[in-house]
Symmetry: D2
Subunit: 337 residues, 4 copies
């Protein structure tokens, strides 16, 4: 039994971490903190959790949180998280950071987020929390940079063939589609129900701030620089990401060979399910779960990979709890099935 | 051919007025004005209207608008409209006001909108723009108070039996359900797609600011005070209102008699369709149209009336154009089929 | 640890029972049976359950199922269930029936389902599985008639005041709104996405086959006959029921008194949450949970009660598992939080 | 004023043709025919059209229809249409066929639809009804093969660069997303609201029966054979197609040059709107209209084209009426704005 705290709960990912922890048989939630003046019962803010989460939310007090927790989840905005991470690390806490603050190099961070990184020392120690790639490092980590949602869907869809992509000089074209919770809980007219409903739009075509993260990790796995064309779309659904990944290659191996690479790579993974060749997963197959489902088909020299996740679970909070399970030596699936 | 202007186009009703007028064979849009600093092509703000509306939007200049228009539609927020109405009336323009500013008595207005009415003189001259009730007065009116969306659905569903309701001392119970455009285009987290989608909620139960309007008009039609219990719900759809109206009465006439009252009342109406007894309309039947469909059934001493409209058309902008058609002597359906 | 079987899994409620049982710490799923010719892995039919449910589905063989199970859940169509219930009871199994076959008297059943009841002997022994009403009887039952979804929302919304309703001779008016899974998984054009999406419709107004069930149970609780006006609507959402219940009564107690009755009635209930006066729940508050949330407000002599449930959980499969927990002496919340 | 008939109205495209014709100032609907035994008022089948379409539907009687119509729209299933087309042509009628029966060569037809073409004589005379490509031929045609919905979105998105594509040996990768009405009004469980809602799925990846149509027409425009990778996805919205088209080319011209090709190609088109470079259209921009909006951006050697249409209007019925307008010498936009 460990004690966990969640800092930042007004957004969708913080609330989802709380929901996962509340179901977790080996975790006690000992702290809920966020921007607020006076303490409030969590269930008064989130009536859905009435009779489930009985704790009180308080303002962020690093000492108080550290005194009561073994692990701290940070669900804070980008550029804010790096103010808190060093404080919790100094106090000996394990930290799982859901923001983008510890995923890129200092240079790339400055380039994409237009601000200097304030905690470059810890940045170098952070472990990128994709269990399928870094399980061993996660076990001993004290700071986890939890992957982005789009990035998770793209990496899990391409890692088994990363070396092949790099060797053949391919730039995958990724056409991603995400539910609206991926855009967060911001009061913007463009995110209103009446604007998003019954619509589909393409945005930040090949200019999204998640691109450097996918290129960095895929490049590390391939052992050389890899480029990715990434074109996201906003769906009129709440949850889920489906990435359709196109690899056009004159020297493509057979569907069977490629499928074999995926099956081998994910053989023992508890949360990745590789389908039979030609059987493509849909978002409904993973909605509300921590699974990533992957389908593969080859047609006329084109490899098509479909990768689906729930953006709030495997794409954020579920993966964060999976990382905690690994760090703490629990069954990796605890609280997540 | 008349010249029309629309003041206020950032909300949903203003845009819908523009769309109706653009289709109208006897109207030229000569002015589009709103809160803005520099002129912009309308189609740059609303790409949907590219190659349809070629006009430029400008800031609100009463003299300029008056110089170019015969009729002015005001799609401004409540309490703002009454600043502009007298200015356009002074300049001899016909005004159709889509706000709530000219629908209530000065006393009721102050009670419900918490501010004194600033244009009580014109308030007394305003004609309530429900054609099915006031067609003759609308013909000669210079100021139309265009009805509220919920109110239109409730009034059209009850007017034929207003006297019976009043005589028997009944308080109808109205359970209304509205699409999200009814809440306007405000940047509030409670109206985000991720909050409204897949949800249904009841709000302002029997305390909604539309209640005095329905009670006032229904009372006028009945010749005596009438109360209405009104309980609105927010649907996760874009457009449409369905009001289920319950009349529990020990002395209820037969279904045939009641149905006869509706058929008679709406006999010559171009935009009301009374269904056969027991045939209840759905929102899809009127979505995108200016119709109000009405169904009636009687069961175990309970009269159930279902009234559906498109909240942006018959509930707002379509009705405004219908009023314009009446004021100008056009075919009442022009631009609306 | 008990062994459970599910008979009938092609519909939505069967699949939901399987999902709940798969999460349940004290249950082993030992049989999955349905109309099929050859055995198939469950996860091949429901890819969402890959790596979670590893069992194989087989055709319905009463002896085989009985040999492997302690408890059998029947998720079969109405009028089919009563063919199987006696066979499992004879073999000493505990049976939880999700159909309507054991909820009404033989006479009422014949009247509403247009067919004679074939198992009247067991019909008399069946316990109506609403834990908040019948917990003690459920503990010792061998056959549970699991309540209907609409009925659950209406009963939980009215049971605390059943005697008051009966004594004052009130007929509650219930305006219910249900997500589309409530209509089942039938290949009918009226249930197509393109028909239901962005629509709302009222159907079977005060003639729905769930009415006798709510009147029977409410009458039993009140100690005398009670009538209910029930008007259902089909929402364009997947899951959830919101019932708005209207009680118009000249002698209504105060809101505080009424609220006190609800708080007292549900004081120790694990799955009912009574809100503060005037705080009305929405479907999102219970979606994906086994909770029923209840809100109360009083306005101008009208009591308005809003009751929300997830139709597939508290309205069907979750309640079925709650009943199993009670029958087996488990924590009532096991597998359901 | 011409007389028009619609054969087949139970599907979504037939109903949409009727709606367009009902608004058309120069058309009288003189015949509505389909599979039915006894005549029924159209508005009884489609209450939405009450007080708008007053005609009666009858069974298909070729002589009767021909006697009353100048133009006949066929909204029949593939493989059925070719039974009727020759009959109407023999009787001197202009025919606009919305099925796939006259879009492919006899060989390709047999290959993709698994049945021999029964009307190869007329097949050779049919004009492919894409006004932006074939306006002149459409003017004099007696038989129009109205394009498929996906195909329209892909062709309009690529025609201006067809020669460049062919010359450089590029195979465009098209990731299309369509609303559910594109799948028709078939009673299949996979199309139920509860299955489609909140989901996204990829289907028939690069094997869809629309591929030969796009390759044929694009090849004709390019003057040589062109291949297209086409991967469709089913959206949980009702209407609209967004195709994201990827052209990866080492010798790509500049964004300005490419944009210039589009602007030039569509300079005088009433229903194509080319956006500024980098401004990508969304489905909402064309929903309910006959427009095709096109956006273009270039990034790191990849040309990305986004093309959006309303699948039932520019993708089917609106385009059919546009073709009729051209054949009859009307303003091409009549009935379509």
């Amino acid at each position: 039994m460990i004690k966990a705290g969640v800092v930042g709960f007004t957004g969708y990912t913080g609330a989802e971490v709380v929901a996962c922890l509340a179901r977790h048989p080996q975790v006690e939630i000992t702290s809920l903190a966020g921007r607020m003046d006076t303490p409030v019962k969590y269930a008064d803010l989130f009536p859905k959790m009435g009779k489930v989460v009985t704790q009180v939310c308080r303002k962020i007090d690093v000492d108080e949180i550290s005194a009561s927790c073994d692990v701290v989840f940070l669900a804070l905005p980008h550029t804010v998280s790096m103010d808190y991470v060093p404080l919790f690390l100094e106090r000996g806490k394990k930290v799982i950071d859901l923001s983008a603050d510890y995923r890129l190099s200092a240079d790339e961070y400055q380039k994409w987020f237009k601000t200097e990184h304030k905690d470059q020392n810890n940045l170098m120690k952070a472990v990128y929390g994709l269990p399928e790639l870094n399980r061993r490092s996660i076990q001993g980590a004290s700071l986890i940079a939890n992957p982005g949602c789009y990035v998770t869907s793209v990496l899990l869809g391409t890692l088994p063939i990363a070396k092949m992509i790099a060797k053949n000089g391919i730039t995958p074209i990724v056409d991603s589609k995400s539910g609206a919770t991926g855009a967060g809980k911001k009061a913007e007219t463009s995110l209103l129900f009446s604007e998003v409903d019954e619509d589909l739009k393409c945005y930040k075509a090949d200019t999204h701030q998640h691109i450097p993260e996918m290129e960095k990790i895929l490049g590390q796995a391939a052992g050389q620089r890899v480029q990715v064309h990434f074109v996201p779309h906003l769906l009129s659904i709440k949850r889920g990401i489906l990435s359709t990944i196109y690899i056009k290659d004159a020297e493509l191996p057979s569907a069977q060979e490629i499928h074999g690479m995926y099956e081998k790579f994910y053989k023992d993974e508890p949360f990745v399910r590789v389908r039979q060749i030609g059987d493509l997963p849909r978002i409904a197959d993973v909605e509300g779960t921590n699974f990533c489902d992957i389908g593969i088909t080859v047609s006329r020299g084109l490899l098509i990979i479909v990768s689906v996740i729930d953006n709030l679970l495997k794409g954020a909070s579920g993966q964060a709890v999976q990382n905690m399970n690994i760090m703490c030596g629990f069954d990796e699936r605890a609280g997540l099935l």
